[in-house]
Symmetry: C2
Subunit: 272 residues, 2 copies
DNA sequence: TTTAAACTTGAAACAGTTTCTAAAAAATTT
DNA sequence: AAATTTTTTAGAAACTGTTTCAAGTTTAAA
């Protein structure tokens, strides 16, 4: 951690997880930075309108500014415009929750969603939008991992582990790296991932990579997933849903270049 | 412009408006900063994963990182949870577009939306989410201005002007400061704003301030607006819609403290 | 009232940043 | 195809914002 920018952004990243506000000292402790320095940075961020202090001598919390930037970018990027109709259709057809996610650093972030299940038993993502999801244990993550080489998988999982820290293993979560690689290998040949009781106990999901142009050797842009109660994800049903999932992923991949964001991904080599 | 942080955030703010990517030199020109410095900052942002360069020697564009932060914050803040049901109901009742906005710096940003109009003639906000809207010429802005003193209005409008720069006056846009103050005064007594052909020609809208606790003297948290084609916003219809709008705003104000974000706004004095 | 914990502020030492210059690469024009 | 212009990238010295440490305040708790 060297530059001011890095420290400031680390502060913002942490504050994102605590919309209710945080103490200077807590922030400093969690980031292992001197209180005094965090304080200075917070004042600067406050001056710029990204942070505000609640009461004198009180906690600091983010303003709406950062969210406005994020929403503004996403809106203008065209991702939603491109994806929503396709997601809606798949949600309708499957009667489950459908999401489009992209890889951000070492985790997955979903950027569009459609709920196909009527109220009742269903998986609801709640407040998770924009939250980084663990790659090795989620269906979407496994779909993305299946597009990488084993070495790349090992590198990524080496950093993230098999489970998010502090999260208990679900009954079908891969227990070892070998298990994971086996699951990934199966996913490669199958063309889509299958993750029942893997991420959260009682939840079932399947996901397919979204590739540029919608072709099998196109550059990977993200993944499309279907999720719902595990009881509705027996093997037969998943095989029934698979064609729609793969079709939608292909359609998305074909339409993606129309979005500035995905077009940007395309203009560069596969990823560092 | 002094600190690194300020410069870096200015770069990010500008890049938000150009998801397709920007050249170093363009960025430098628009921000009136030395090319070399912008370059350095971009490299740093790239190293941190907020920006990526498309091709070697190519443009720089934002990654999904910033959007993920924004969405994550908004999700966890609870604003959507609180607001969506209320917005949905009002959208249903009015058959128009309903939005909840908050003040960010000198502009309005909407953070939740519900579309009550069936496809056909309707106002659609498109990619505007997260985009700062001009306060003096929009219905929501006028609703917020109506909660300030004339001096505060003058201060704010002094900075923003009567119209967004480069945007032509619509037929009913207040032409002078005096006109605006008169409109604001009427809004105060009426309890909600009325803006037909004011922001965009052919569009009609009305908005009410959302106040903490839902009471008239509560702290202002944001505003709730209804928008649609001007032809559906004759005086009689607006008077008919007013009670639902005001009720919803009150309900929202009463429920707001349950959201971390609004609760944060409450914990501090009315605003600097 | 006393004690503890947290926020705030000041000043000197330090380190990252700025600016200028210039080379290398890419895009345009002739 | 060569020449010209624009743009990106890189290095080094001067500078300025930042870090750190220590001390003063304020607030909350005992």
């Amino acid at each position: 951690m060297s530059s001011v920018l890095e420290k400031s952004l680390a502060i913002l990243e942490l504050m994102v997880e605590h919309p209710e506000g945080m103490q200077v000292s807590t922030l400093a402790r969690k980031l292992d930075m001197p209180v005094s320095g965090v304080h200075r940075t917070l004042r600067e961020l406050a001056r710029l309108g990204y942070v505000r202090q609640e009461r004198d001598q009180g906690d600091y919390a983010l303003t709406i500014r950062l969210a406005a930037m994020g929403l503004g970018f996403l809106g203008r990027s065209g991702v939603t415009d491109i994806a929503q109709p396709i997601l809606d259709r798949l949600a309708q057809a499957s009667g489950e929750l459908v999401r489009l996610s992209v890889l951000d650093g070492r985790g997955l972030v979903w950027v569009a969603v459609a709920q196909g299940a009527t109220v009742g038993l269903r998986y609801d993502p709640g407040r998770e939008q924009g939250v980084r999801v663990h790659p090795a244990s989620s269906a979407g993550g496994q779909a993305l991992l299946s597009t990488m080489t084993d070495d790349e998988v090992l590198a990524l999982v080496g950093e993230t582990g098999l489970r998010p820290e502090g999260m208990a293993k679900a009954s079908a979560t891969p227990a070892t790296i070998a298990d994971l690689l086996k699951v990934i290998a199966e996913t490669r040949t199958r063309g889509y991932s299958v993750a029942v009781n893997t991420y959260i106990e009682g939840m079932g999901a399947m996901a397919a990579p979204v590739r540029a142009g919608g072709v099998a050797d196109g550059q990977v842009l993200g993944c499309l997933s279907i999720a719902g109660p595990a009881v509705r994800f027996p093997k037969a049903r998943m095989e029934e849903l698979a064609p729609s999932l793969l079709d939608a992923a292909a359609e998305l991949g074909a339409a993606a270049p129309a979005s500035h964001f995905f077009a940007g991904l395309l203009r560069q080599p596969p990823t560092p």
